[in-house]
């Protein structure tokens, strides 16, 4: 039998477990083993949080927003609280701002080490995964010591923070940073020198500076392609004006560069944590904030471990927000996966996907259903009818 001319084939990956333990659907068109086209479908974990925020008070929303993401919970509550404070024209005291930055940097450390482990696991380097996650426990314990919880720190309240750090905790923080710095130096050496691992990362998923600009890549993904884009530097918030960061970039734009940028950012975070611990300003932790937030709208941006996190908050003068819009960094970086995937082997896809440090669950905001007649706007009655019909089948 003669062979078919075209060997084009579509490989669906997901929605269950596409490289990561979060739902997202990808379709890779392959010719032989080489990917020639890629499409993504998101929206499997829409949780209606933005709508939910409208029926809760400002204080209650703080904790709802904290649960948008399971890894970077603090930055979500910080983005929300900074926006609300801006609307209410209230400034949290300097000590509170410094503690916000401290928790944010500790969270960045935990998130970057978590990513290091996940990405190593996708590359088949489980030793690095196990050891880096063991070391990550250090920073998780530090976060628990400071805030009282490992994941949802709830360090923020409207108008300040609810956790303080004492001398003993400062000592623990410094000791933890010393240990982690030593380990991180080792990991940097491993990911830049180990030949077997470099085979999976060097020149894989290359995104040039021009491409990164065109696709609007943000966070470490963009910085690995040479983009100078970091909200902490561009418009400092919380404690960042007093404790500034130094931006870390790389030129290559491949997976190795993303490893290097994230690991070097860890060193930057260790430096910041030490600086804050040494020079933390004294004073109050909270300031008074009204229960009814004055009418107005605002945009609040913070740098999450994955890139710029964007909050739009609108108040109508009551004790509940009128609209809260969240845009998480993973959404901006998703397009880069689809572009950089082309030309690589199918086996590299999990690595390229993990390379942007995606967090699908937090970026799923809304699902637009395309109706039978190409309609995309449905009213409640129609949606209900669709639901009934769907399950009748």
């Amino acid at each position: 039998m003669p062979r078919q001319k075209s060997e084009r084939f579509i490989v669906p990956i997901g929605p269950q477990h596409p490289a990561l333990k979060e739902p997202g659907h990808f379709e890779f068109t392959v010719e032989g083993e080489v990917v020639t086209n890629a499409t993504a479908r998101l929206g499997f974990v829409h949780r209606g949080m933005e709508k939910g925020a409208e029926s809760r008070t400002w204080t209650q929303d703080l904790y709802l927003m904290e649960r948008v993401c399971g890894i970077c919970s603090h930055v979500h509550s910080m983005a929300f609280v900074l926006g609300v404070e801006k609307l209410a024209n209230v400034q949290a005291p300097p000590r509170a701002q410094a503690i916000r930055e401290l928790v944010a940097e500790l969270e960045r450390i935990h998130s970057h080490i978590l990513w290091l482990g996940v990405a190593a696991h996708e590359g088949g380097f489980d030793t690095l995964f196990m050891f880096s996650w063991r070391d990550r426990e250090t920073v998780m314990d530090l976060l628990e010591t400071i805030s009282g919880n490992r994941v949802n720190y709830s360090a923020n309240v409207l108008g300040g923070v609810k956790v303080d750090i004492n001398e003993r905790q400062k000592d623990e923080l410094l000791r933890g940073m010393d240990f982690l710095e030593e380990r991180t130096r080792h990991y940097l050496k491993v990911v830049t020198e180990d030949d077997t691992f470099l085979g999976r990362t060097r020149n894989i998923g290359v995104m040039t500076f021009e491409e990164a600009t065109r696709l609007g890549a943000i966070g470490p993904t963009g910085r690995a392609s040479g983009l100078l884009r970091d909200v902490r530097m561009d418009s400092p918030y919380a404690g960042y004006p007093d404790f500034p960061i130094q931006i870390v970039t790389a030129k290559a734009g491949d997976l190795e560069a993303r490893f290097v940028v994230r690991i070097k950012e860890l060193f930057e975070s260790y430096r910041l944590v030490r600086e804050i611990v040494e020079k933390i300003p004294s004073g109050d932790l909270t300031t008074k904030i009204p229960r009814r937030i004055p009418e107005g709208e605002t945009v609040s941006r913070v740098e999450a471990p994955r890139g710029e996190l964007f909050y739009y908050i609108k108040s109508n003068g009551t004790d509940r927000p009128e609209r809260v819009k969240v845009r998480t960094p993973s959404l901006c970086n998703c397009a880069s996966v689809l572009t950089t995937a082309i030309g690589h082997k199918l086996a590299d896809m999990p690595m390229i996907l993990a390379g942007i440090d995606p967090c699908f669950s937090c970026n799923d905001r809304m699902v637009v259903l395309n109706g039978p007649a190409g309609q995309s706007l449905w009213d409640w009655e129609k949606l209900r009818q669709y639901g009934i019909e769907y399950y009748k089948k």
């Binding site: 204080t59 209650q60 030793t127 010591t145 009282g148 609810k162 020198e193 180990d194 030949d195």
Partner: protein, 142 residues
């Protein structure tokens, strides 16, 4: 170091104890800031209900027994609680705190998740009333 850059770590691990905690057998103390079970001390409570208003999970209720003499019973739902400690911050009289030693809260049935705080006779009165099927006095919206 072309290959096997983590071999050193592996070899070292052979001579070390596992890093995992032997949790149910050996218990390490929780940090003092830990947000465990909520504890209510009725002594200073004025019944302002700010804690209830701010609770994101609607896990606490204050049932008024005698408003004039400030006798309240607090019903706390452990399973609804998100352990955020907002109520502790909201309380102006420092009646609430989150315990750092009561955190092993798992149970196989629902009853232990409903905790009553207040005077013993008040709780008894309330539970007896509930057993009779009488509607309890709901706390008015503050």
């Amino acid at each position: 170091m072309p290959i096997g850059s983590m071999l050193g770590d592996i070899v070292k691990s052979f001579f070390k104890k596992p890093v995992t905690e032997k949790y149910p057998f050996v218990k390490t103390a929780a940090p003092e800031n830990l947000r465990g079970k909520l504890v209510w001390n009725p002594e200073n409570c004025s019944g302002c209900q700010l804690c209830i208003k701010d609770c994101p999970a609607n896990a606490i209720e204050l049932i008024t027994i005698d408003k004039v003499n400030k006798r309240f019973v607090m019903r706390y739902n452990l399973d609804k609680c998100t352990y955020c400690a907002q109520c502790v911050v909201s309380c102006r009289f420092h009646c609430l705190e989150m315990s750092d030693d009561q955190w092993e809260l798992a149970a196989t049935h629902k009853e232990p998740f409903e905790v009553y705080y207040g005077r013993e006779e008040d709780i008894k009165f309330l539970l007896e009333k509930a057993a009779l099927g009488a509607p309890e006095e709901a706390c008015p919206e503050a």
